[in-house]
């Protein structure tokens, strides 16, 4: 997420970090680089200028000069300013004291409203709400079908009437949701260009009819300089309360995320970070700032881990750990949990200090995870429980069954042994030394590709 910006900001600030004293020239140099990094990340020009101005002013202030670690202070200032740029304060939605709470989603075509509606319904359902979806996109062919299918996947009712007009569809939908005792109604509207007067008026009419508790602008994270115009236009016409940022799982540069709050005063509330329907998260500006500056994001990591592991599973694992048992069934379970937490690389980046070490660790490891699963699934239940019975001929059978090689099977057997040992030590209260390179976390050949492209970038400048 925001990797390009993250790299550039970290390198711009890297020089300052190590310095004992800061002079104006060093700060100016760093700030020029920060400004360029922001511009290259699609941050609005005026916002980039203002941002750099703020940071410079504070960096030259008394507090920094008196500090023993002035470089760190500047990094902290950048962190604060980034956080402020994306919106401090709560990212929660408003819930109406008199249900149903209504949430209107609006945005350009292709920003991801319909998918976001499905994801939001699932997120709220997990939060013990009883959401319903209302199709008010009567424009795009098959948009209703899409919402119906999403509703079915997340187990949430969808109210739609193809022959209706959007205002009536919204009115009827809310009525039906009320009658069915749903407490949150998510309204999916048709995508529209902010310069399309007629469609913007239609949206305003929908808003007047629905009187939504929340209006969210759905915005593609990859939007360029245009993000500012789009946000402003939607702000003027329908006055949204917050932003739902989509497609943040790509290598979006972050310009839209860093610009939209500043021009509208409305914070980012939710972020879509993957294709799967459960990949919608509450947005935390401070955590995002930490991630951009390579400081990790432990809080999100813990939350994801908690979401990925059921309560009984947790107890089961703890019990086994105490006993020092770690069969291949457990091994597989922990691997699956890890995978449920999202793409491996994204997960590891949330660990402070890991960002830099991960250059080179490419998605190849995702494949490796798949291989681990294949090998374990090629074992008999008995072999999984009692791994030491796996002799030479069994290894050959497992390798053939999983489409791998005997050395790969051996590697996995060894990895389990190490993990069992570690578990035993942890169970007995001794903290083990974490081995520098865990199995499977070796840099791959792709490391060269990544670094060479970096070299090219430098050469161009």
């Amino acid at each position: 997420m925001f990797d390009a910006l993250s790299d550039k900001l970290q390198s711009a600030l890297g020089d300052l970090r190590s310095r004992g004293t800061l002079d104006e020239e060093a700060i100016s140099r760093a700030m020029r680089e920060v400004r360029l990094a922001l511009l290259e990340a699609d941050v609005n020009l005026e916002i980039a200028r203002e941002f750099v101005g703020h940071v410079r002013e504070r960096a030259l202030g008394q507090d920094v000069r008196k500090s023993l670690t002035p470089g760190q202070q500047v990094v902290k200032i950048v962190h604060d300013e980034l956080t402020a740029l994306m919106g401090s304060g709560s990212s929660q939605l408003a819930f109406s004291p008199r249900p149903p709470t209504t949430i209107l989603l609006a945005g350009l075509q292709g920003s991801g409203k319909t998918t976001a509606a499905g994801k939001l319904a699932l997120l709220l359902k997990k939060d013990d709400k009883k959401p319903a979806l209302v199709a008010a996109d009567l424009q795009r062919p098959a948009a209703i079908d899409q919402l119906m299918q999403l509703g079915e996947q997340v187990g949430v009712p969808v109210y739609a009437d193809e022959r209706s007009d959007p205002v009536k569809a919204v009115r009827d939908g809310i009525e039906r949701a009320k009658a069915d005792g749903r407490d949150v109604v998510i309204l999916d509207t048709a995508g529209r260009l902010h310069v399309d007067e007629a469609l913007m008026e239609e949206l305003a009419a929908v808003r007047r009819e629905a009187k939504p508790t929340n209006v969210l602008l759905v915005l593609d994270a990859m939007t360029g300089q245009e993000a500012v115009n789009v946000a402003k236009a939607f702000q003027e016409r329908i006055d949204f309360d917050g932003v739902l940022m989509t497609k943040l799982d790509g290598d979006a540069r972050g310009g839209a995320a860093l610009s939209v709050k500043h021009v509208t005063g409305r914070p980012i509330k939710l972020a879509s970070v993957g294709e799967k329907l459960d990949a919608l998260e509450w947005f935390h500006p401070d955590r995002m700032a930490s991630r951009i500056l390579g400081m990790g994001d432990v809080l999100t990591l813990i939350e994801r881990a908690e979401a990925a592991v059921g309560d009984d599973e947790k107890e089961e694992i703890e019990r086994r750990m105490m006993k020092g048992e770690f069969s291949f069934d457990d091994f597989l379970k922990s691997y699956k949990m890890l995978r449920r937490m999202g793409p491996l690389q994204g997960v590891l980046k949330m660990i402070p200090g890991m960002g830099k070490q991960l250059e080179g660790l490419d998605q190849v490891n995702e494949k490796e995870l798949g291989r681990v699963e294949a090998i374990i699934l090629s074992m008999t239940p008995h072999e999984r429980r009692v791994p030491h019975v796996i002799d030479g001929s069994r290894r050959m059978r497992i390798a053939a069954g999983s489409g791998t090689t005997v050395p790969q099977v051996n590697q996995l057997l060894e990895a389990r042994k190490q993990m069992a040992k570690m578990m035993k030590m942890m169970g007995s209260g001794k903290m083990p030394q974490i081995p520098g390179a865990a199995a499977g976390a070796k840099p791959r050949a792709s490391a060269t590709r990544k670094s060479s492209s970096k070299r090219k970038k430098k050469a161009r400048r």
């Binding site: 360029l36 511009l39 290259e40 990340a41 699609d42 609005n44 020009l45 350009l108 075509q109 292709g110 920003s111 991801g112 319909t114 998918t115 499905g118 795009r140 062919p141 098959a142 948009a143 209703i144 079908d145 899409q146 919402l147 119906m148 299918q149 999403l150 996947q153 260009l193 902010h194 310069v195 593609d220 990859m222 939007t223 360029g224 300089q225 245009e226 993000a227 115009n229 789009v230 497609k247 799982d249 790509g250 290598d251 979006a252 540069r253 310009g255 839209a256 294709e275 490419d362 998605q363 995702e366 161009r460």
Partner: protein
Amino acid sequence: MSRSWAELLGEDEAAPEPETERAGMFSRLRDSLSKSRRALTEQIQVAAFDPGDDLSWERLEEALLQADVGVPATAELVRRLEARGDIAALPDEIALLFGEPPTLDVKHAPAVILVVGVNGTGKTTTIGKLSAILSARGHSVVVAAADTFRAAAEEQLEIWAQRAGADFVGSERGADPAAVAYDAIEAAQARGRDVVLVDTAGRLHTQTNLMEELAKVRRVIERKLDGAPHETLLVVDATTGQNGVQQARLFKEAVGVTGVALTKLDGSAKGGVAIPIAYELGLPVKLVGVGEQLEDLRPFDAQDYARALVD
């Protein structure tokens, strides 16, 4: 004079298009691009531009950056204009970065056009419009719904196919997209159709496994029909920022993109990211979408685009 469909498709004997229609692209483009609050000209203050003044060049740089042209292409444009010492050459220099006017290769039996891109750029809509236009120009078209991932993608395309009078080849949701492409080519061969448009699921270019899936679709098409796919179009949303360059780079690496369709130019977005895509990667823009109507999908004309962008 705007580029016509006959020129784009390399038709020599085709009846010339009515003048009004050809003029249409430029005026629509200009209309839509001028909707942005400030035209580039105004921003650069062309009238007061002084080649000897650093501030003038800085304004030019900033204007280009705000149009999503990006740092490397902006630097190149500034360098070229400095060499010429003439700001009036800006549209020319922008048009030059796009290279020679491209063609869209549909002269095969059948010609296969694979359409790819990230989520929500307008692949299905572009295919729908293109199939209608090709049908109207006397081609028989098969559309293949190889987007087997997104809910209701197939239904959306089927509606377009009906409107265009094109044959439709679909499948179950979750089916193998490569198999759908294969079936469509087979159907086109059996029925003697001459263009196959293959719609694929939107995917972020950073998702290695999904990009591999796409490469497989391409390989299956290659094996099914010699020389196919004859075109691989990347659909790019005009509101995209510098990320668009990376999209183009990775899709090109994975499936050998031959051209770009720049969609949603009817907003206030200037679509400036097309410039670095053409300049840094040598990928020509072949089609532009300037509105929701069928006839709003047009051949791309670099001169028109550059003039509309600047004026």
